[in-house]
């Protein structure tokens, strides 16, 4: 029979989360819905936002080569950055895991601390480094790699380098979290069964790290595809990605409906990538790991 305390227990969680729920529903859901609606409005260069509904914005975004080029560039950039983060991030995490306690803690701190520094500051540093007279060019000329300064600012290459710097800590975090869950005795079992260290690594350890590498890749890909500050500052006005294109529409062209459309496409793509890939990783690896 339901008693007062059972009924109270059922109300409690809702009571406790009510303030946060109220804030989120009114200030997160509502704006997002409004933006969705906004993307369906028409826009006229002279008169601004018109009070009619149309799918023109979506058609434009999906058919105009200008925007398609931007999306392809964004996706390609995200893919390259993700790949590079895997290539340099995973080995570094492994190296970290083999260090002794104190050094390990220090270097982990050094690698993760930049996450707490504003992206503006980090990107500023790269603007300085990648300039024509910047340190990178100076070192390359000193080493004889090139005779003349290579132009890196306002190129996709420069953006990619800077983005790798911004994103690699996320990869390290993800792989690190997975390494923490590894049972060291599994590696010892492999060795005891006669597998030389290299084989043990590729056949025993690396497969266990895959879920962490994959979920790190998902995070890096999604964040890179949505990146704004770094492509804006290093890529410049002419190298547009999805986020900077949306920004342009909102604050320059003032074509808010089109901006909203780009933003929503970015949002949906993000969700598909994150949720879809996470589901896939979970299903693929569920039988291997629990929880």
């Amino acid at each position: 029979m339901p008693s007062p305390s059972a009924a109270r227990a059922r109300r409690m969680p809702w009571l406790l989360s009510a303030p946060a729920l109220a804030v989120f529903v009114s200030l997160l859901l509502t704006p997002l819905v409004l933006t969705g609606v906004l993307s369906l409005y028409a826009f006229d260069g002279q008169r601004g936002i018109l009070d009619t509904y149309t799918l023109a914005n979506y058609i434009e975004v999906f058919t105009d080569t200008y925007y398609l080029e931007i999306f392809v560039r964004t996706a390609g950039m995200a893919a390259v950055v993700t790949l590079l983060c895997v290539i340099i991030g995973v080995p570094e995490t492994l190296i970290l895991s083999r260090m002794r306690g104190r050094w390990r803690g220090i270097f982990l701190l050094i690698i993760l601390a930049p996450l707490l520094i504003s992206v503006v500051v980090r990107t500023l540093g790269w603007s300085i480094l990648l300039g024509t007279n910047g340190l990178v060019n100076q070192i390359m000329m000193f080493l004889g790699i090139t005779d003349e300064p290579v132009r890196m600012m306002f190129t996709l290459t420069g953006v990619i380098v800077a983005l790798v710097h911004v994103m690699v800590p996320f990869m390290v975090l993800s792989v690190w979290a997975t390494i923490q869950k590894l049972d060291p005795q599994v590696e010892q079992a492999g060795l005891s069964l006669g597998a030389p260290p290299r084989t043990t690594f590729f056949r025993v350890i690396l497969p266990q790290l895959l879920p962490g590498i994959l979920s790190g890749s998902i995070i890096v890909f999604a964040l890179t595809a949505s990146a704004f500050a770094t492509p804006a500052l290093i890529g410049g006005r002419r190298l547009k990605v999805a986020a900077t294109a949306a920004y342009d529409e909102f604050l320059s062209t003032l074509n808010w409906p089109l901006g909203a459309t780009i933003a929503l496409v970015l949002l949906v793509a993000n969700i598909i990538v994150i949720v879809g890939c996470n589901r896939w990783v979970e299903r693929r690896f569920r039988s291997v790991f629990e929880g």
Partner: protein, 264 residues
């Protein structure tokens, strides 16, 4: 566990150099005595640090960001703590959905959030208000705050609360005397992380900031977008230094891993 060979250590050194390079170059350049971005080859100078004090816009943006961060993180904590308790202490239908809902700002591109808030403020006439800007930050940082408190709450031995009840304490007393003190490390860590996220926030804020509500990252971005001068480097150097201190503090109190992974 094998040790790292020389090849691994070389790779590691290059990696760390890569990580530190942009930060170091900023600090180095900030000591230049020239009026443009250059290395301080002719001697160190504090010229650009002194210039900070005269940079009225940047200074007021700094104080504004500080105030914004403090208010936003405190508010986020007040919302996050009961919600985290609701989600860790009770089994109820919709629990998973609620967690996902509160974590959703992490999955939504900040550009999208910025655009959404811009549109919302525009329709409701809320632009230029400190309060409403603060609420956008609150929404952005609640996931970080909640993740920390959730981790602390799940790590706590539940029987301890039952022990308090068995000894005669009312549920409120149990919360106040037992649960809250034990959650304190997670709460403080979550608060600090929220503050940092708010203080550093750029992409979303750039849509909704106005000249009257200018945060430091947005002010710096606007500055850099037009010209790069050593002033931003000295400001950045100060920020780097401040963040280092805060990082060490977080590491001492909670442990940086726990803060960033959400589960140490």
């Amino acid at each position: 566990m094998q040790r790292n060979g020389p090849l691994a250590l070389i790779f590691h050194t290059l990696f760390i150099t890569f990580i530190l390079a942009p930060l170091v170059i900023i600090i180095v350049v900030s000591f230049t005595d020239k009026g443009y971005i250059s290395m301080p080859t002719d001697g160190l100078s504090l010229r650009w640090y002194k210039a900070i004090l005269d940079a009225r816009e940047l200074m007021s943006a700094f104080w504004f960001s500080l105030k914004l961060g403090l208010v936003a993180s405190c508010t986020a904590m007040v919302l996050a703590i009961p919600a985290a308790l609701a989600v860790t202490r009770y089994r109820f239908r919709g629990r998973e959905a609620m967690i996902a809902f509160f974590m959703s700002p992490l999955m939504i591109p900040q550009v999208v959030l910025g655009a959404a808030f811009l549109r919302f403020f525009n329709i409701a006439g809320l632009s230029g208000s400190f309060f409403w800007l603060m609420t956008t930050h609150v929404i952005l940082i609640v996931p970080y705050a909640m993740r920390m408190v959730i981790a602390a709450a799940t790590g706590m031995n539940r029987e301890i609360e039952n022990a308090g009840l068995s000894l005669g304490a009312s549920p409120w007393t149990v919360f106040y005397r037992i649960t809250l003190p034990l959650l304190m490390a997670g709460i403080v860590g979550g608060w600090m992380l929220s503050f940092i996220q708010s203080f550093d926030e750029l992409t979303m804020t750039i849509f909704v900031a106005t000249p009257g509500t200018m945060t430091l990252p947005v002010a710096m971005y606007n500055h850099i977008a037009h010209t790069i001068d050593p002033l931003v480097t000295s400001v950045s150097a100060v920020l780097i230094f401040g963040t280092m201190l805060l990082t060490l503090l977080i590491e001492r109190v909670v442990g940086l891993e726990k803060v960033l992974i959400g589960r140490g």
